[in-house]
């Protein structure tokens, strides 16, 4: 059996059985890892597969979170309505923003996505009466699903696991589909794809919408996880961390970023207990990874383990 599959099964079993042997604190941490894994994977679709580096991916994450927060606090507590709205809003934002951004490439794309995400941050931060401004919106209750309350760590964990699993499956379907392959082709050489008759812009646009959608899902999960949403959910630092998660795990591998997310979330929580200089450590990891392991952990692993398709980088 291929080692990758084995590790995958081990991980799945671990995640499913976790409530049996993990304390609530660590279980919560595992749930958080899943949420950010989803966020990172959504970015991988854009960065790893399509080759568009976005520093503004947090825009969709935050929009999903804020939509759910605002609705559930002010309008209605029904989960389905809020969740649907929480998915529709980031998709709409993606539709709008990416009309402006998809004409750009490389560093331009980095700057423009960053700047657009900042506009949203500015709204969240500045429109106090609507979004609560810097204070954010606390007191958001976890949903009731068919009579089951998600308030406890364990039910919420399984809720997140189910959502994660479904999204992972959907993303892998996308990635293996002709659309996914076309995206990889575009990443490798736009001109070639254009010559072959592909509408490059359209493919990139669709990819960006999908990426925004899944980021929105992660945002919805996160706002329920914390019971709170604030401008930090739209901050560039989170975009930057997502980028690091993708690169660290291995861009273009879909599962790599999930691993990257797990590593970063763990590090963030443990390092700060032992040193005050964990931001420096994070920066050093960034530098080291971009220098020596640009294909990420998964890239290294695949090289050393030999078997399996080579990571598409």
């Amino acid at each position: 059996m291929r080692p990758a599959r084995l590790v995958g099964i081990f991980a799945a079993l671990f995640i499913l059985a976790a409530p049996a042997f993990l304390s609530t604190y660590y279980l919560g941490l595992l749930t958080k890892m899943l949420i950010f894994a989803l966020f990172a994977m959504s970015l991988d679709l854009l960065l790893g597969y399509t080759g568009l580096p976005s520093l503004g991916h947090v825009a969709y994450f935050g929009t999903g979170a804020y939509t759910v927060g605002l609705l559930s606090l002010r309008v209605v507590k029904t989960f389905w309505i809020n969740a649907l709205a929480g998915l529709a809003a980031p998709t709409l934002v993606a539709l709008g923003f990416n009309l402006l951004t998809i004409r750009a490439r490389g560093s331009y794309f980095l700057m423009i996505t960053l700047a657009l995400a900042q506009v949203l941050w500015g709204i969240a931060f500045g429109w106090r009466s609507f979004t609560g401004g810097d204070d954010g919106l606390p007191g958001i209750a976890r949903p009731m699903l068919g009579g089951w309350s998600m308030a406890g760590e364990v039910p919420f964990h399984y809720f997140a696991v189910v959502v994660f699993g479904v999204c992972l499956w959907l993303l892998s379907v996308v990635v293996r589909s002709p659309l996914g392959r076309a995206l990889v082709g575009i990443r490798e050489s736009e001109t070639r794809m254009r010559v072959l008759g592909y509408n490059v812009w359209a493919y990139q646009y669709v990819a960006s919408i999908l990426a925004g959608f899944f980021a929105g899902v992660a945002g919805v999960l996160f706002v329920y996880y914390n019971g709170y949403v604030g401008p930090a959910y739209l901050s560039v630092v989170v975009s930057g961390q997502a980028l690091l998660m993708v690169i660290l795990g291995g861009a273009g591998t879909l599962v790599g970023p999930a691993l990257g997310a797990a590593i970063i979330v763990l590090l963030e929580n443990f390092l700060s207990a032992y040193t005050e200089r964990w931001l420096t450590t994070l920066g050093i990891i960034y530098v080291v990874v971009t220098l020596y392991a640009p294909r990420g952990v998964l890239g290294i692993l695949r090289d050393r383990l030999g078997g399996g398709r080579r990571a598409a980088t």
Partner: protein, 284 residues
């Protein structure tokens, strides 16, 4: 009348500061195709270095020199040891500078602490001047003057010197430039150091005006981005005009629409993106 004069002068002085910041960033990108995300950190470091030198020597000029040169030296080191290994890979270089941003921000917090500080102004510019009915800080007039002089100096460098010609060649077509014998690695190092020099210089000038504190690196970086998106990447003229535009729009916007204070800076940027994505004077 007073209102208009003060706001306009303010807009211009803020714009000059933005120009200094954006010029370095734009130059680095134009020649090396590197989006230096640590540019705000160079500003921050420049401001803090200037603060320390000012405390020790009470000389503003010395602080300017020390800060600008110090930051340039650090940038040189960075470029030589780390950045140059991944030439040509835009994204990797940009990400690497992002990591540098974290490191510098944290080290600065450790060394200089978290208190917001302002750099003392140079002797002779601490008072305000009276222009008829208007009272205006003389230091801000100095910033305007320095900005214009720097702009002229950079323009002269770019248009009238051999070095400038080499830089322009590098911006236009790096491969070709290398083909005709330009030592591109040296050029890159020099340009990166020059950009950092400008940022460090801007740090001291800006530090006396706006102060220095954790988080300034980010704010400054974002503003530089806005200026560059509006003015165009790789263009000195764009940085100048963009800086002035953003400075003026920001000031007047705040005065007339205080609730939309944060939009006044991002609105023109979004407009340019929609209409002319490469910026007013940018190269495609």
């Amino acid at each position: 009348m007073t209102f208009w004069v003060v706001q306009a002068l303010n807009g211009v002085s803020f714009g000059m500061l933005l120009f200094l910041l954006a010029a370095g960033l734009s130059l680095i990108f134009g020649v090396m195709k590197v989006l230096n995300l640590a540019h705000g950190s160079f500003y921050l470091l420049g401001a803090y270095l200037g603060l320390t030198v000012l405390r020790l020597t009470h000389s503003f000029l010395l602080a300017l020199a020390a800060a600008a040169l110090g930051v340039a030296a650090l940038a040189l080191l960075l470029e030589r040891t780390v950045l140059r290994r991944i030439y040509g890979e835009e994204l990797r270089q940009a990400l690497l500078t992002f990591g540098v941003l974290f490191i510098i921000a944290d080290q600065a917090l450790w060394i200089w602490g978290g208190n917001p500080q302002t750099l003392p102004k140079p002797a002779g510019f601490t008072a305000s001047v009276r222009l008829g009915d208007v009272i205006f800080p003389s230091y801000r007039l100095l910033v305007i003057a320095v900005g214009v002089v720097m702009g002229a100096a950079l323009w002269w460098l770019q248009e009238r010197t051999r070095v400038g010609a080499v830089i322009r060649a590098g911006v236009d077509d790096e491969e070709m430039a290398r083909g005709i014998g330009v030592n591109t690695p040296l050029l890159f190092t020099a340009v990166f150091a020059l950009g950092a020099f400008l940022a460090g210089f801007g740090g001291v000038m800006g530090g006396a005006l706006l102060g220095v504190y954790p988080g300034a690196d980010f704010e400054v970086l974002l503003l530089a981005f806005v200026v560059i998106i509006i003015g165009g990447l790789g263009s000195l003229k764009g940085a100048f005009v963009g800086g002035l535009l953003v400075g003026l729009i920001d000031n007047f916007g705040k005065a007339f629409f205080p609730e939309l204070a944060l939009f006044t800076v991002f609105a023109p940027m979004a407009a340019i993106l929609a209409v002319r994505p490469t910026g007013l004077f940018g190269k495609a």
